[in-house]
């Protein structure tokens, strides 16, 4: 397999499109949790029950009848190799939980990888929609379209007072988790993000960084999502999230501008050192790679670096993960071997651009 081909697989086609505010918002996602009324939830159901749920999707899939999405592929977990599952997890197409459920678990994935429907995850159905940049409303609209189509065919577990009934009490009501993935290097560098997180959590939203050993989020990537699913409409939840994300975008832009004005040379030095490391290192750990990629992405966004494609952070963050590296190497790798392969793949990726 050529590297170029592999790249095509590493980055989902929808990620290549540029969305609104994509210098800061990497992606928007809506997830809806739904259940069959008469079937126990997967946590307790026996395999005959779960097989019924799977069979519904199997039949619809064979009839090619999914509304608006005639390009969904049905992927059964029991047919996948461990590494293939890992790659799907790393691309956020399935959850680690689904990969574990194994026997009766499956996913329907659209060819552009924008839609994925998990079957027999924690709930019977989890509809996920991704959009590039900041496009929560659009994602919600399309998630509802799919939901409406399913609802005509399935008796959902629904209650007038409690809404959509889910296995976990944290999802009941709308069953919706809306989230936005943000790259906030300037807010992280100036430590402003630490002061903003508590305020945001008071609004019923959650900020998640992927933390490594220090207090810095890996790659300065943060996910903002709603915590509350009961008592508010989907539109209101998305609206609340939108206003907070808008403020974060504003603050991040201001902080970037300030950094460029006040410490131009230091910033430029930091960015180009990271660029150098990515272009030349022979061994690189995931944490260092993420830090350097964040710097280079910032360099692209503030205009210091002009010769690299804009979604390099998205792309190489996914590519650098263990599942992908091992899929590429076609064998299991030790941590040390992964650091070597990661460095070499990143080097080659940068050579392709120049």
């Amino acid at each position: 397999m050529s590297l170029q081909q592999f790249m095509n697989e590493a980055i989902s086609p929808w990620m290549k499109e540029e969305g609104p505010d994509s210098d800061i918002v990497m992606s928007s996602r809506i997830r809806l949790a739904r259940n069959f009324e008469q079937v126990p939830f997967p946590i307790i159901a026996d395999s005959a029950d779960l097989e019924k749920v799977l069979l519904f999707f199997q039949k619809e899939y064979e009839h090619q009848s999914f509304s608006n999405y005639n390009d969904l592929a049905l992927v059964k977990m029991r047919d996948l190799k461990p590494i293939e599952k890992k790659v799907l997890v790393e691309k956020h197409l399935i959850s680690p939980h689904l990969a574990e459920n194994d026997e009766e678990a499956a996913a329907l994935i659209s060819s552009n990888e924008q839609v994925s429907v998990m079957v027999n995850e924690e709930d019977h159905i989890r509809i996920q929609l991704y959009f590039p940049g900041f496009q929560l409303e659009k994602a919600l609209e399309q998630a509802f379209t799919f939901d409406d189509w399913l609802e005509e065919r399935i008796n959902y577990a629904f209650d007038e007072k409690r809404g959509y009934l889910t296995s976990c009490p944290t999802n009941v009501g709308t069953g919706m988790r809306a989230s936005v993935m943000m790259h906030l290097p300037a807010l992280a560098l100036t430590q402003k993000i630490n002061r903003m997180i508590p305020a945001i959590s008071q609004l019923g939203l959650v900020v998640r960084g992927i933390y490594g050993e220090g207090s810095e989020a890996i790659g300065n990537i943060f996910q903002i999502s709603n915590q509350i699913t009961l008592g508010k409409s989907e539109q209101d939840i998305v609206q609340d999230l939108r206003s907070v994300v808008n403020q974060l975008i504003d603050q991040e832009r201001k902080a970037r501008q300030l950094l460029v004005e006040q410490s131009e040379l230091q910033l430029e030095d930091r960015i180009f050192r990271s660029y150098g490391i990515l272009q030349h290192s022979r061994i690189i750990e995931s944490k260092e790679a993420a830090k350097c990629l964040s710097d280079v992405q910032l360099g692209i966004d503030v205009g210091y670096i002009n010769d690299i494609s804009k979604s390099i952070l998205n792309e190489l963050m996914i590519l650098s993960q263990p599942g992908f590296l091992q899929h590429y190497a076609k064998r299991m790798l030790s941590a040390k071997e992964r650091d070597v392969l990661r460095a070499s793949l990143i080097r080659e990726r940068f050579k392709l651009e120049i």
């Binding site: 809404g163 009941v172 009501g173 997180i197 508590p198 959650v206």
Partner: protein, 183 residues
């Protein structure tokens, strides 16, 4: 508030834990929550799920269950007739076994939902159109009634008359549907 474990990151998770009958408040960052085992293996490296059982136990230990044991003697054996999930099991794992569990444990859910969903206990979002047409009509009806009040207060009587007619029609429809079900 800073994290009580690392004193470095802000505490983003707050919950209570019952140890030997004593309630302890815990304030930690996500990283430490994971590191110290307050959270287990999780989808997307985060969730309240595993903190929930602490929550339920807190509710059970705060006098809430005592009120109920007096009125419902078999409270401890509260079991979902559909899936066999007991309340104790539910409190331990923090997950429902089936849709019917919501009815079975109904009396005990409001305090839990209030804590998880910022005081909310009732759904205000989407309604499946096929199974929920009646619910939607009822919602529409209360919207119209609200509108009518506003219009009368603003002395916009012409519009008020229109809305009043809509309400009458909707009430008629609802009654007819209701009779239909009884037949």
């Amino acid at each position: 508030m800073e994290c009580q474990e690392c004193h470095e990151r802000p505490a983003t998770l707050h919950f209570s834990k019952i140890v030997n009958g004593n309630k302890t408040e815990i304030h930690v960052c996500e990283y430490c929550a994971k590191e110290k085992g307050y959270m287990g293996y999780e989808d997307e490296a985060y969730s309240l799920h595993n903190l929930l059982s602490g929550l339920f136990n807190f509710d059970a230990g705060s006098g809430f269950s005592e009120q109920h044991t007096s009125s419902v003697p078999s409270e401890k054996g509260l079991t979902c007739p559909k899936c066999g999930m007991t309340y104790q099991e539910f409190a331990r794992i923090g997950k429902f076994g089936c849709a019917h569990c919501y009815q079975t444990f109904s009396d005990r859910l409001n305090p839990v939902f209030r804590r998880v969903h910022s005081g909310n206990t009732t759904h205000h979002g989407k309604i499946p159109s096929r199974i929920g047409s009646g619910i939607q009509q009822k919602r529409k009806l209360s919207e119209y009634r609200e509108q009518l009040k506003q219009l009368i207060a603003n002395e916009e009587f012409e519009s008020a008359a229109e809305v009043r007619d809509k309400i009458k029609q909707l009430e008629k429809d609802l009654n007819r549907d209701g009779e239909g079900e009884e037949e």
